[in-house]
Symmetry: C2
Subunit: 415 residues, 2 copies
């Protein structure tokens, strides 16, 4: 199937775009549809790359609004863990489907997921048409023997994900250094290197985690991971609030990626934000993520990129910190090769958005600043991933049924 | 004209609502439309009060995206002031019209405005159908004689605004203590008391302002204002980032209101946030505002209330700080009598929203938490103010023409 877009605006120039076999086959002012093309008349809408959500737990749409305004441990112990104990694989399928609808509606084309029941996550992602790096959560409770007993299942899932189609990237997701043994972490790093797949781990989200790591191992979290051979170009470190300058230099040296989650960090009141200026100075590859909706509570990367720019200006005391263009590059997954954001160019994957240029928020000024500071995800009219039209005119087929499924499952789980 | 709403959800109960003469004439589970009523079938949408934007400069839609990511003084001197020097009254009319459209689209029913050419602001507000407290900016450059020469014009505008219809509240807007002489401030306070109208002033937005005040007058800004007789139940203090506990007690004692503007404070990197916990402890009446779009860059109070809750949790280190219900009460103008937020009840003004309960962000959990953390203004389907339907199905009549007017005027002003 071939697709053509006419009359879109790219950097102020009216262009056409054609898609063949999931790739952009032609793009430019003189590109016209051919016979048999499915044609989208963009009517002056803005053509942009989609966002890349660098860290989330998609299926947690099941737990939105379940224990907001609570302290982290109380929330986990009295709300989330008891609810997750009742999770069925099918719940994860529907929770992930709803997350995909929210991401399609707010302009995300690819996401990095860490959650239970990866087979169902892959099925949901494939049905939804988004791209995702999928990792089941690995937690061995710092028990190496338990960790060893989990390896077979982890490899089985990787094999399954490897065959799950072009939209799915297999990935490994050790939860954190305080829940996974060093033996398991070292093994995971080896497997990731052998298979050349991304590894996602939460790191330095709270100050407590750093203190505990120093007390237990005599070194800071990034140094600890590095000694295990864990830090490399495949490593994605989520949060990174409490990384110090020497850790950031080490991370940059190993070419690992740090994904910041400003909304969740603020909502859970971890007391800080990614040290962006130090990270930039060290040359760390960066990404941006929403985290799961139970600590955000949405998946809107347009909202997230504004929060990212705002909290960094707030932290530095300088309004010039993290200007819009830099924030957008990070939000689009273009600052880190591992996050897979692709440019709008011939031969590249046909992943793109059409934005409603007529919305008042996009009506003036600097287009990049408007996207970061004025817009939210509701400016997205059309979302295309791998050449498939996932939303047009803000309609995602099946959205109401999926929301209803999640509502009833959520009621069962949180009762 | 009478209006009826059927099948709306209010706190989980299906209700009907009737409007006569701009007031809610009936509300409850058994309320049915009468013959000749214009009927809105809400189809399960959520019925809520609108937001009250406690501090903005509406017409600055003309300058959105014009000098983002710049330091405050550089931005004012090289961008905003030269552009404002070219402002025609008609520009302000159109800029305000666009702001009204954005507020209608994101669920604001009433706003507090401070800008030039108040006659045009009043015309725009009346044509748009929103409620607004309108004040022209008063700046005498600390020159009492100049201030005195401006009094006639200020009173003339107040007289005009007093006759501008039920949607318009006349107000006075001295810019700040560093731009308006103490003589003018004292005079303004007298006029406001005589006419019983609100006064809006920027206060303690930057630390520099506090230092300068202490250096010049030997006291902090709120103390300085109080000595002039300026602090009272009609006073609305915008920003209030650097108020100390004793100033907050004084403000509470005088029954004045503080309106916080978290997005603008973060974007301009003033280095702090309203000391919410101290303000609550002192019993200060609070409001929430977006500030002008050139320092935000939008007018979405749903986004603003999330930022408010998040920055306060971030500042306190406690996720339980400013829970959703408290944040919503403030955002709806119900925490301060001066801000005029009204409840949904028989006999009250017919100002209300219908929200799309089917949007994924509103599909689960705690409705108040969903509104604060998950939703943005795009969940608003229908906006009604004073019984007039300003938006249905997200369509505001005339929006495209108004946006086009602003685009061309903005180009002229910022060239």
């Amino acid at each position: 199937m071939t697709l053509a877009v006419t009359g879109a605006l790219l950097d102020g120039v009216a262009v056409g775009l054609r898609v063949e076999d999931g790739l952009i086959s032609d793009l430019g002012p003189s590109v016209e549809p051919r016979e048999r093309d499915e044609v989208i008349d963009a009517g002056g809408m803005l053509l942009t790359p989609p966002m890349v959500n660098g860290h989330t737990h998609a299926a947690m749409t099941l737990f939105r609004g379940f224990g907001d305004d609570m302290a982290l441990m109380e929330w986990l112990e009295t709300r989330i863990w008891p609810a997750e104990a009742k999770l069925e694989p099918e719940d994860v399928y529907w929770g992930t489907r709803l997350a995909c609808i929210e991401m399609i509606r707010s302009g995300t084309g690819r996401f990095f997921d860490m959650y239970w029941h990866g087979v169902e996550v892959a099925r949901a992602v494939t049905d939804a048409g988004l791209r995702a790096a999928i990792s089941s959560v690995i937690i061995d409770g710092l028990d190496a023997a338990k960790g060893e007993s989990m390896r077979g299942e982890a490899l089985e899932l990787l094999d399954h994900l490897a065959g799950a189609g072009e939209l799915v990237t297999p990935s490994l997701g050790p939860h954190a250094i305080y829940t996974v043994s060093s033996e398991s972490l070292a093994w995971i790093a080896e497997v990731a290197a052998e298979r050349d797949i991304p590894v996602q781990i939460h790191l330095s989200e709270t100050n407590q985690e750093v203190d505990d790591c120093v007390a237990a191992y005599g070194k800071r979290p990034a140094e600890y991971l590095d000694e295990l051979g864990f830090l490399g170009p495949r490593t994605i470190l989520a949060h990174g609030v409490w990384l110090d300058p020497s850790e950031l230099e080490l991370i940059a040296d190993r070419n690992a990626t740090v994904v910041t989650n400003p909304a969740a960090n603020m909502k859970l009141a971890v007391g800080g934000a990614l040290p962006y200026e130090d990270a930039e100075k060290a040359g760390v590859a960066l990404g941006l993520g929403t985290d799961g909706v139970s600590s955000n509570s949405n998946l809107d990367m347009f909202e997230e990129v504004k929060l990212f720019a705002l909290i960094q200006k707030h932290a530095s005391g300088d309004p010039a910190t993290l200007p819009a263009s830099a924030a957008l590059e990070i939000a689009r997954g273009r600052h880190s090769a591992r996050l897979g954001g692709t440019p709008l160019a011939t031969g590249e994957p046909a992943d793109f958005l059409l934005l409603r240029a007529s919305d008042p928020e996009l009506s003036a000024g600097d287009p990049e600043a408007d996207l970061v500071y004025a817009a939210n995800g509701s400016v997205v009219d059309t979302t295309v991933v791998a050449g498939r039209v996932l939303m047009r005119d803000r309609v995602v087929p099946g959205a109401a049924e999926i929301a209803a499924q999640v509502r009833s499952r959520s009621e069962r789980l949180t009762r």
